[in-house]
Assembly symmetry: C2
Homo-oligomer: 289 residues x 2
């Protein structure tokens, strides 16, 4: 799916909701646990119920890997099911991978060819050749961690670059001392385009979205942290939206585990619809629909 198609999908569904499939087997309703693949059945029910309100689904790979090869089978079945709705959903493997070139290439093949996701989240720590192998696939996207929604984001992402470093790297003395996450956004833009590169910017840091939009006005941003982690949807829309919408806002636990009973899918649909209606309002306010 390319950028125009994603924007069209957003306008069609009047939503920029991403549902995080953090499908922890210990949290899914008891009545599913007698089935052959409880996690897949859970995901299928969630997808069926939330599809009208959702533009993207984001399985969190950790929750599948934790059950080893069995979990990978659930992941394979989930993406295969999602790919039946190819023009109706954008799919993101939340994997946060990143390694030296030949290894990143293997990860890219896994998620783009074997599993056929539209996008994967990657960690920028290892730099250009850890990310570039993901960028060589048509209509596939790399979503680079920039400013994450967790407490630990303060430890390194907020580190300020010295004047001298800016001088050495770019031959000029910038009046701004970039923070690491800003440097990640500005440097990595040289590796891809607005058609294959997005950034993760946590909703719990929505006040930083204005600054991110200075560095990356046109890129899509994947915004986690709304709901369970405390971020505000309204603020994210106000500071983060651009003329192609430009944001995908993720909610995981707030939707998929809103009920732990047999009505889990219906309740998930209600929660997804609530968010979609707020998003519709934001899109209308911005004049995009």
């Amino acid at each position: 799916m390319n950028r125009e198609e994603l924007f069209n999908l957003i306008k069609k569904k009047k939503s920029f909701l991403c549902v995080g499939l953090d499908s922890d087997i210990d949290k899914i309703p008891e009545h599913l646990k007698t089935l052959e693949d409880p996690v897949f059945e859970f995901n299928k029910a969630i997808i069926d119920a939330t599809l009208p309100y959702t533009v993207a689904y984001k399985p969190n790979v950790a929750f599948y890997e934790s059950r080893g090869s069995q979990g990978w089978i659930s992941l394979e079945k989930t993406i295969e099911y999602l790919n039946k709705f190819q023009d109706e959903v954008f799919t993101i493997a939340d994997a946060k991978r990143g390694d030296i070139g030949n290894t990143s290439k293997m990860y890219a093949k896994t998620f783009f060819e074997k599993l056929d996701f539209d996008a994967i989240t990657v960690s920028p720590y290892m730099g250009s050749d850890s990310i570039e192998p993901f960028l060589g696939f048509d209509n596939k996207w790399v979503i680079v961690l920039a400013l994450t929604s967790n407490k630990g984001s303060e430890d390194f992402q907020m580190m300020k670059q010295s004047y001298g470093d800016t001088l050495e790297r770019f031959g000029i003395r910038s009046i701004f001392r970039k923070k690491l996450y800003e440097k990640v956004i500005s440097v990595s833009q040289n590796w891809g385009t607005t058609d294959n590169l997005m950034y993760v910017v946590g909703a719990t840091k929505s006040e930083y979205l204005t600054g991110v939009r200075v560095v990356a006005p046109d890129h899509f941003l994947l915004v986690p942290g709304v709901g369970a982690q405390g971020g505000s949807l309204e603020e994210v829309a106000t500071y983060g939206m651009n003329d192609h919408c430009g944001i995908l806002v993720n909610s995981s636990r707030g939707i998929i585990f809103a009920s732990g009973e047999s009505d889990f899918a219906d309740v998930a649909a209600v929660k997804a619809k609530e968010l979609q209606e707020k998003m519709e309002q934001s899109l209308a306010n911005k004049g995009l629909i």
Copy 2:
């Protein structure tokens, strides 16, 4: 395995060799491909042949994941086989994971409980709460990426911290402007101990090992990049060794794919033995054996 046990293993085998099981199915010998699980059979033969010379094995998870659930079965069988030699090998999942707390906890369970690896590599980008969930397991290790061996390590790991940032964070004005990788090493030491925390420092940057040893004199370092990537074993030993040896030097392709024919295991043993003999000399020079 704790730090003393690891040091004893190094002294017993007169080696600090880590063999990287980057077992790419496209590169393993043809005659294995008719077997039910070619990758596992390849690994088993490599392990059997190189065990006398090797203290650690490091499956690179990407090369297993690329075959989906089938690849995960090969990984599960490989670690199960390695765990038969429990006191004779240290096992590392080269996974470079790292996510928000509840997700990192799932990854920790995967690699430490489900698969029972001794150690896992993690990316520090997301900070403390992305790494701490891995540190709560007895005799298990976290190996944090610090300075990697690839070209892209220049992009962010070498970023210099400003004076102001040091001042703000620590209440003092340091005379040293730390680089990101140095900051990762110094800050993360507060999260663990020399008994559960190691660092990745690439052999292609062996001149930096002296500086790393100032910040982390006692920690074990996992050193990739010897051989195929061009790092020198002698330099790594000279600058990196401490009184507990303190280094595990990895070689992957240079051993496991030294021959692509039916003699692959014998040739791997020869290559591993060559490295072990050099390591024995370094350990003797340092007075550790």
